[in-house]
Symmetry: C2
Subunit: 329 residues, 2 copies
Amino acid sequence: MSVATVSRALNGSGYVSKEAKERVMAAAKALDYHMNVNARSLTSGKTYTIALVLPDVTNPFFPAVARGVEDYASDNGYCVMLCNTDGNSRKESDYLTMLRSRKVDGVIFAVSVPSKSRINTLLDDGIAVVLVDRDLGDSYDIVKTDNVAGAMLATNHLISLGHTRIAFISGPMQLATSQERIRGYRDAFVSKGIPFDEQLVVEGDFRMESGREAMCHLMNRVDRGGENGFTAVFAANDLMAVGAVTALEESGFSVPTDVAVMGYDDINIASVMRPRLSTIAQPKYEMGWIAAETVIRRMSEPKAPRLEEILQPMLVVRDSTVERRGALA
Amino acid sequence: MSVATVSRALNGSGYVSKEAKERVMAAAKALDYHMNVNARSLTSGKTYTIALVLPDVTNPFFPAVARGVEDYASDNGYCVMLCNTDGNSRKESDYLTMLRSRKVDGVIFAVSVPSKSRINTLLDDGIAVVLVDRDLGDSYDIVKTDNVAGAMLATNHLISLGHTRIAFISGPMQLATSQERIRGYRDAFVSKGIPFDEQLVVEGDFRMESGREAMCHLMNRVDRGGENGFTAVFAANDLMAVGAVTALEESGFSVPTDVAVMGYDDINIASVMRPRLSTIAQPKYEMGWIAAETVIRRMSEPKAPRLEEILQPMLVVRDSTVERRGALA
DNA sequence: AATATATATGTAAGCGCATACACATAGTTG
DNA sequence: CAACTATGTGTATGCGCTTACATATATATT
């Protein structure tokens, strides 16, 4: 019995007599033999590994995505490596080169610092790449939700409640996601013919604390000049919305009575905090799932046209948004 | 220039002339060469990969742990594979054999279904294993917090508030973690000489919905007989506590006025929900970090005596616990 | 019966790397 | 200067696996 026969028996490839196959299988079971996947990848070129590169699993948006990725991946024989970049350019780059030398088959990438050249390096190495959530122009496969539509949904909801002075706490400006949400926010005003005040948008970094800070900023400006008032705030993600609510309450304002607050993402916190947060729900799990499906598909068709999956966000109205009263207007 | 020289230059092993080394490095840079880690692992036997096997990243307790693992691991040249088992015996077992054939160097394991034989299989394969959070007797390396102490802290806090009828929503009974917490809960009663009612403990599964269900159970029993009343509930994790609060409020009771509620874990939700949840804080990130440190240490000393890291939990008093009033007593 | 085809197995090479060993040269020591 | 050591490089083998190719036997086709 040669190694070749054994290999064929184990893989079900080529011709192997029933009898030989049975012997191999029996021996494998008896010895508790398990294929060395790494050795195989040496010849096959496939590692059946995909990497999930994201800013921070600790941000409640990502675990759901990760779960989606993992479910699809493991159902299809892939393992997933988890890589946290903290939005740090250095870490991001270090990880990418590490992934290259590990020959992962694909990477699902929630970019923090947009760099096409980095991604191209992966592609040149034959590694499939798909972006999740944060887009990067029309060069790469992407799975995201329609952020413009989502932000419009949110803003229109607020407008329909009688708010016209709506502050916006955005995400990091270099991210397409942030740009798209801010665009939806603006478009909502334009489409209703409501004047729009650039002073009301403040940049955050998607973390809770930055939402708090942004809110303080906003409130300070009102106090000083009597100008820049607002009756509602729309934060580009729930975490910042939570921070904003905290800041508001610390300053003695109540949500939604004094100011209405909208979030984005619909993380679990949103439905449990008080007031329960109105928000834009994203299909996080599905995003991850589809992203995994997409990278895997891409692996076998490196030359296929760009894949673009744009899911629809959904307005979830809870208790943090209510008809305009406005203590800060 | 032979492959051997190149290998030595790249690894800094053996004798290599300065000049040769420079040439190699220059060429490597010029060609954007990266070591094929998998190929290397064929000869070295090390994959520089560790697996993190846990029930569900989506449970807010775990992302922090995962983050701790990842930080320590990546700082030391290791990648981490994420494996969700859903507490499903089948998935758990499937993953373990997959990890064996991938020759991971170590696995950090939050066990769902206690099975020593499974773990021994890994160990026999030369894979380092360390348990996190859920213990399994004194056979394996473990990183956890002192659950007995934690549960006592919680229960004593409630008792000191005047509560004597304290319901307990436990985790799955087959988990040591659950047993330990229930033991702490009981011990608190015993040490104060307060009678203890077995009827007041209900089993949950650590998920939010099960907390809700357990709470309904508890309330139903009160309604029927007039017996089994309670003025406080201690849930074995925050998620179930949230579920319990929900159930209570749905039934028209208010927390903490009618019944006080304590959680366990101190996930981010706890400080944001209303009422803000009193809970037992676990050093989640540290647990992950130390677990990673421990597996990596174990790899180089397979025969060393068992490593046991027991961290201390901390009482965090917020708004969900307050002096006994009791509408359900 | 001669030839073609399907089936079955083995041999050998190679994937990208590390390393034992042989060998060669330079530097030290007495 | 002989003998030895430290330094540098190359050759060859193997890690565990797949696969092209060669070979062999059984079965089918004309």
